[in-house]
């Protein structure tokens, strides 16, 4: 499918072409799953979000407008689904959440965190939600700054601010860990 443009692939997928559908799933499903997992820290929930994202994609494909790459659109949908789930779990207005490292983990997260002390996943999971989104899309999934900003519905400048804060927080963790070892 390498010689086929994404729009052709989407058109074929919308018309029921199984090969085009499989190619679309194989290329985008892992990214969506990883983005959802980093947000939700739960494999089953991340799989639910991934499946729901593709259900919406199948409905959208017949009227697809190539304004954005499919992966950017899918990440937007997945992030919104993740935010909905996080909001239901933690009924706090996101605007009121202070931008600091969230050390108040849920019990299952705390257990997982204890088991994964020193592992990068637990440090990323501890970042504030928006910083985690920015880092996940840009640094870990390789979206461009414009694509990531579009997926998050923020300006490029806001995305860069989130990225800088996320990396600064992780670097502080890394430095603290290195200092503890010495």
């Amino acid at each position: 499918m390498s010689g086929i443009s994404e729009l052709d692939q989407i058109t074929r997928a919308a018309n029921g072409d199984r090969a085009a559908q499989a190619a679309l799933v194989n290329r985008n499903m892992p990214i969506i799953f990883r983005v959802a997992y980093r947000m939700l820290q739960d494999r089953a929930e991340a799989e639910d979000v991934t499946q729901e994202t593709f259900l919406r994609a199948w409905k959208t494909l017949p009227t697809w407008q190539p304004k954005a790459k499919f992966s950017t659109w899918a990440c937007t949908v997945a992030l919104n689904l993740c935010r909905d789930r996080l909001r239901k779990k933690k009924p706090v207005l996101m605007d009121e959440v202070p931008e600091r490292i969230d050390t108040a983990l849920r019990p299952e997260q705390a257990l997982a965190s204890q088991q994964a002390i020193g592992r990068i996943e637990s440090k990323i999971a501890a970042l504030p939600e928006r910083q985690r989104e920015a880092l996940s899309l840009c640094a870990l999934e390789g979206l461009t700054n414009i694509e990531a900003a579009e997926a998050m519905d923020v300006s490029v400048r806001a995305l860069e601010s989130l990225l800088a804060r996320a990396r600064r927080a992780l670097r502080a963790e890394l430095n603290a860990e290195l200092a503890g070892e010495n």
Partner: protein, 152 residues
């Protein structure tokens, strides 16, 4: 963030935001930043080293894989191909019978259409009732309706 005047501060910002891997920097700023970087590398060595350490840490991220059943479930919910029409009138049938041809309903509709077409054709000939009646009675071997009534 297109900025034609790249500054050392902006290069430091790029390193702080996007890391030491210059391929991850915004495409519209990369060349200018690389030019500044190669012009005075010492200025950025410490920032690059710090960023590189974090980049290495991020590469160690290990996430669980989605279950193989997930892609199967996603593909099972994908749109199915439209059924292939087997005759040349498939398109017309598709318009008339969007839910597929069902013969009793189809026959009723065909009868209705034939009646309407036949009726319209008859009316449009301008032939009067008398002539039509004469033709009708002639088909039974009598001259007119009156003869028919008489013979009864």
């Amino acid at each position: 963030m297109t900025d034609l005047t790249m500054t050392p501060d902006r290069v430091l910002e790029l390193i702080a935001m996007y890391g030491a891997e210059t391929g991850a920097w915004p495409a519209d700023e990369r060349d200018a930043a690389l030019a500044l970087l190669s012009a005075s590398p010492d200025q950025f060595t410490a920032a690059l080293e710090q960023a590189r350490a974090l980049d290495q840490m991020l590469l160690q991220e290990a996430l669980p894989e989605p279950s193989p059943a997930l892609s199967e479930a996603i593909l099972a919910s994908a749109p199915k191909p439209a059924p292939v029409r087997k005759n040349a009138f498939g398109g017309v049938f598709g318009l008339i019978f969007p839910q597929g041809v069902r013969w009793p309903a189809g026959a009723a509709l065909a009868s209705l259409l034939m009646g309407l077409v036949g009726g319209y054709s008859y009316a449009s000939t301008g032939v009067g009732y008398d002539q039509a009646d004469a033709a009708y009675y002639a088909s039974f071997g009598v001259d007119s309706g009156e003869d028919w009534l008489v013979s009864e």
